[in-house]
Amino acid sequence: MMPQGNVIVTDVTITLLPAAPLYALEIWSHAHDVAKRFETALGFALPVMGRSAGSDDLCLIRFEPTVWLVEGDVGALPPILGEDGALTTIGGGIVRVRLSGPRWRALLMESGVFDAESPSFASGCSAATIIDHVGVRLHVVSDDVCDAYVPRSLSAGLVHFWEAAAGSLAA
């Protein structure tokens, strides 16, 4: 059973976000040319590794050297990519979980291996890491909000883990 509703504890709130179209954007050739075309067409640059960039309609998060996770309206992207890259729909396999509140960083340290408590992991940063054996992609939305992109099959287990861990963060 997928977890239903939100779990709110004192320090961190765990919210399942509604399903959304997500894409993997991969560039295999002429990366600089694609980046120029991208910035010209959309008004912002492709984010560098470990960062995100976007507009109200489109957000790109770079987790891999040649791959970006794309959220939003991708209508403008195919002509920008041309023969230099591709978009692949992947949203069905990912559950977005929002962690909000002052202790989301501490929660991510539970059975984690990534330094989510580092001050440099700030708004607009991203990371691909492992939490309690689950491969998770993180995107810092603001000081108090971090979105986690979790494999669908493992989302129920990981959310359950987070719910349990969140209740004892202060222990």
Partner: protein, 915 residues
């Protein structure tokens, strides 16, 4: 000391403790000196130390699932309702029948087990019963631990281990220079040694330092022991969030920290050494600093008439502390040849060493000493001893550091570090001491208190030829108890060196291994302690299936429906009903777990023809084919289908069990072998939920769902079902006309509902993995892990004709080795039973007792006609059609006579796929 009183019990009797007392302090406060019985001889044991090095005062704490045996009374702080029980005694602590073993001590010497318990295995089984009854101290709880454990990571610039004056100052300096700091202290207060020895710093300084560290964002962890030092400055800290046996306030009993530090500072201090003399293990013999700790920190005076034995200056502080607390110092036995300074008005005897003590139940009665060759005797209830100081270098050595010998201190101190770790404070500069050699009866002079090892045992090991300290350690079990030899190692090394006629460094050194103090198994398991340790992978359609109450089957980390029983059906009845429905009508099942990769870009076909051993590039848009993949050595490691969705876009499917392996393989090929290709390979296994519809009526079901003619076999089209966009692949695993429907997993429930409604309307039903297995075995389709077991080549599986003749695929070179196509290799065959039922995993033999020629990989029954059939691997199997063999499974107790047949029991020509 004043403060709230706390009630606890020890061996069922109620006592009072002061808040902040350790159990040891509380017992001493109540006049309890006898706390336990020793491991081997059941000797009476009391409290020797005030820290984690305690070897004697081991008790069981807690009740039910929270029971924690072998807890050091010096390392548990009393809480209201604490229940403590002594161990290794019967019927009571004060009257222990096992103490009679002490009378037989001469025959329980080092190597007793090796010298006694030998002979046949049958005899060992007899010995084992008694050994197990006698072994161990406390008993492990039989109930499950009700509490949870946590693993948490932390990163910092500086990790300081130990919050004595040196550690506190180091942490403060680091924090105030802007570094991220973690300070770990195993006690429940900061600066415990400053309470014992205030020096020029006091509790106000401790509080101020802690406040400044916290103000700078530093993290201070109390009740936290650095249990291990690993590669790359990773240090594990085990933190107690409640005391042993106590119900945790927030559900978590302990937390294991994984701290990755840029720099580690060890301020771990040193541990005082005991002296070896006869009966030095009795209640009433304590370490000098421990006595001082009980006096200064807990306000407990462990004895009224005290003898102090020392070879250094530090013990004089204990004399002063005891005197101030009202105790009578009847003698100070100073091993040094002459007075070293002011004696403080105490009766000091130089060239003096204790040789023996006599005791009552809870304390001593008499201390005998050799003073310049003359034996003197004092009536005393406490003997405080100080044999010098052993720096706590465990973490330094675990980090790969080396040690050097400090002759003045007669101790090993940290030398070179191989990681970014520095040791500071008392562990670097232990106090100088005067070296002494034991002069008492070695048979009663203990060096390892926890394992009852005496000087005589060390001597015996030496006499029997054990020269290496590592061998001696294992032969005598010295240093191998839960205290890891914190008090015993140096004494044993000293004795060994004495025997060898060398200085202690020449005798060698044992290895320090994690954990520094015992760690609960549940803490290592963390949150996974309550389950298998990993999350179960749930199908996107889990809720849909769960509502139908299927029989679930674990498949890797997945759980999939094995069958959907109706009424009181058994698994076998259900599976057969479901399989028959597919053979005669229509059925549907969840195939979401299959591996799926979307390959895009102009070089997609080129990449696929490297990954797949079949040709791909000639596929027309909208068509698919069966394919398989080889390892570089030419063996098949997965199979699936490949579909051309568009000019430059393909979908590659593979097995469920091989999905993760395939993902890694494709990534390897893409990133390392073919970085030049213009292609994107994305794992879409979880993006698509998959539904298979199979059976003679499958086409009719699909036509109704799609509103148009469904694609022909091995063709693909996009469509809309249940309001959702889907991709339809016409492919069959069951042997019937069949379709796989792939939909965005987030919207798959609607697609499933539409399919189920139509399947039901046309008289069909759901089917699970068990029916699928019947169907595919009858059809002769392969499964990864069964027929494809990593040892079969395409030739062995009769797939050789499908190999891409142009070559270039991974495994092509390996496969060209002649041995991989030798005719006598194990090859895929079918089996049908002549008599009996074929068991999965059965060996194939020609006669009973003969060598196995192969085995059964999968067994089933013919779905419609009945009869036991199977797939298997058989040496030279292709040429053995018609041969009769025996399929025998001793583990299942099943034997059948079988005939070798082709591995296709159903529609070998594939006519049922075609319209």
């Amino acid at each position: 000391m004043t403060g709230p009183m706390i009630t606890f019990t020890f061996d069922g009797k109620t006592y009072q403790a002061q808040e902040g007392d350790t159990l040891a302090a509380a017992l001493l406060r109540s006049g309890i000196g006898l706390v336990g019985r020793s491991f081997k001889y059941h000797r009476p044991r009391g409290i020797m130390t005030a820290g984690v090095e305690e070897p004697n005062a081991l008790v069981t704490v807690g009740e039910g699932g929270r029971t924690e045996p072998n807890t050091r009374a010096t390392d548990v702080f009393v809480y209201e309702g604490l229940v403590a029980t002594s161990q290794n005694r019967w019927p009571s602590l004060s009257f222990d029948i096992g103490a009679m073993l002490g009378l037989a001590a001469p025959i329980f010497s080092a190597g007793f087990y090796y010298k006694t318990f030998f002979g046949s295995a049958k005899r060992w089984m007899f010995y084992e019963y008694f050994i197990r009854k006698a072994a161990g101290l406390g008993n492990a709880p039989v109930e499950a631990d009700p509490d949870r454990f946590s693993h948490r990571s932390a990163f910092c610039d500086v990790l300081v281990v130990g919050a004595g004056p040196a550690g506190l100052q180091a942490a403060l300096d680091a924090a105030e220079s802007g570094k991220r700091v973690i300070l770990a202290e195993q006690d429940n207060i900061l600066g415990p040694s400053l309470i014992r020895d205030p020096q020029d710093l006091d509790s106000a300084w401790i509080e101020t330092a802690a406040a400044r560290i916290r103000a700078k964002g530093g993290r201070i962890l109390l009740r936290t022991t650095a249990s291990g030092y690993w590669e790359h400055d990773l240090v594990t800290l085990s933190q107690r969030l409640c005391e042993p046996g106590q119900k945790p306030a927030k559900g978590i009993a302990q937390r294991l920290w994984h701290v990755r530090a840029s720099e580690v500072i060890l301020a771990t201090g040193s541990i005082e050494r005991p002296l070896a003399f006869a009966h030095n293990d009795r209640p009433g013999v304590m370490l000098s600093q421990a006595v001082r700790t009980y006096v200064q920190r807990y306000g407990v005076v462990p004895g009224k008439r005290v003898v102090i034995a020392t070879n250094n200056d530090d013990a004089y502080r204990t004399a002063h502390a005891l005197k101030a607390a009202g105790a009578d110092i009847v003698a100070i036995l100073d091993a040094r040849p002459s007075p070293t300074g002011a004696n403080g008005g105490f009766p000091v005897f130089n060239q003096a060493l204790p040789v023996s003590v006599k005791g009552a139940r809870h304390c001593l009665k008499q201390v005998s000493a050799d003073v310049g060759g003359v034996t003197k005797v004092w009536q005393a209830d406490l003997l405080a001893v100080s044999g010098g100081f052993t720096p706590t270098v465990h973490l330094h050595m675990q980090a790969g550091g080396t040690l050097e010998w400090d002759d003045a201190a007669q101790a090993f101190v940290p030398a070179m570090s191989r990681q970014n770790v520095t040791t500071i404070g008392g562990a670097v500069r232990p106090d100088p001491i005067f070296p002494v050699k034991p002069i008492s009866n070695p048979k009663k002079s203990f060096v390892d208190f926890q394992n009852d090892v005496t000087l005589a045992d060390v001597d015996l090991a030496w006499a029997e030829g054990y020269r290496s300290v590592e061998h001696l350690k294992r032969y005598t079990t010295l240093g191998m108890a839960t205290d890891q030899g914190k008090l015993s190692n140096m004494a044993a090394l000293g004795r060994l060196a004495e025997k060898q006629g060398v200085a202690i460094p020449g005798a060698g050194l044992t290895t320090f291994r994690p954990p520094y103090t015992p760690v609960t198994m549940g803490l290592l398991a963390g949150a996974g302690a309550k389950d298998a340790g990993a999350h179960v992978r749930r199908l996107a359609l889990y809720d849909v299936h769960a509502a139908k109450r299927p029989i679930w089957q674990p498949l890797g980390y997945w759980f999939r429906p094995r069958a959907y029983p109706v009424g009181g059906e058994t698994l076998a009845q259900t599976a057969l009903r479901e399989a028959k429905a597919v053979r005669t009508g229509v059925g549907m099942t969840d195939v979401s777990t299959l591996a799926k990769f979307e390959i895009s870009g102009p070089d997609s076909a080129a990449l696929l023809e490297i990954i797949c051993a079949t040709s791909v590039s000639k596929l027309a848009v909208g068509r698919g084919r069966y394919t398989f993949m080889l390892r570089e050595d030419g063996f098949v490691f997965d199979d699936g289908t490949v579909w051309r969705l568009a000019e430059n876009r393909y979908l590659l499917t593979g097995s469920t069990g091989g999905a993760d392996r395939m993902a890694a393989h494709i990534s390897y090929v893409r990133q390392y072998l073919c970085p030049h290709l213009r292609v994107s390979a994305v794992n879409v296994q979880e993006h698509y939920a998959g539904i298979a519809v199979a059976g003679p009526k499958a086409k009719s079901v699909m036509a109704a769902l799609m509103g148009e003619e469904p694609p022909r076999h091995m063709s693909t089209v996009p469509a809309k079902i249940g309001g959702a966009d889907v991709l339809i692949l016409a492919a069959s695993y069951s042997g019937e006309r069949a379709f796989e429907i792939y939909a965005d997993a987030a919207h798959a429930a609607a697609v499933w509902a539409a399919c189920e409604a139509e399947v039901t309307a046309q008289g069909g039903c759901l089917y699970g993995l068990e029916a699928m297995e019947f169907l595919r075995i009858e059809k002769g389709h392969l499964v990864v892990g069964g027929e494809i077991d990593g040892r079969m080549t395409p030739h062995d599986l009769a797939l050789g004709k499908m190999l891409n003749k142009a070559g270039g695929y991974i495994g092509a070179s390996g496969l060209s080795r002649p041995a991989l196509s030798a005719p006598n290799r194990r090859q895929l065959i079918g089996l049908e039973a002549i008599s009996g039922t074929i068991a999965e995993g059965a060996m194939l033999i020609t006669e009973h007792g003969g060598a196995p020629l192969g085995h059964v990989t999968a067994a089933a029954f013919r779905v419609i006609e009945g009869g036991s059939i199977a797939l298997g691997q058989l040496e030279g199997g292709f040429d053995r059609t018609g041969e009769e063999l025996i399929a025998t499974s001793p583990t299942r107790g099943q034997t059948a006579r079988v005939r070798v047949v082709a591995p296709h029991f159903y529609d070998a020509a594939g006519e049922r796929y075609r319209d």
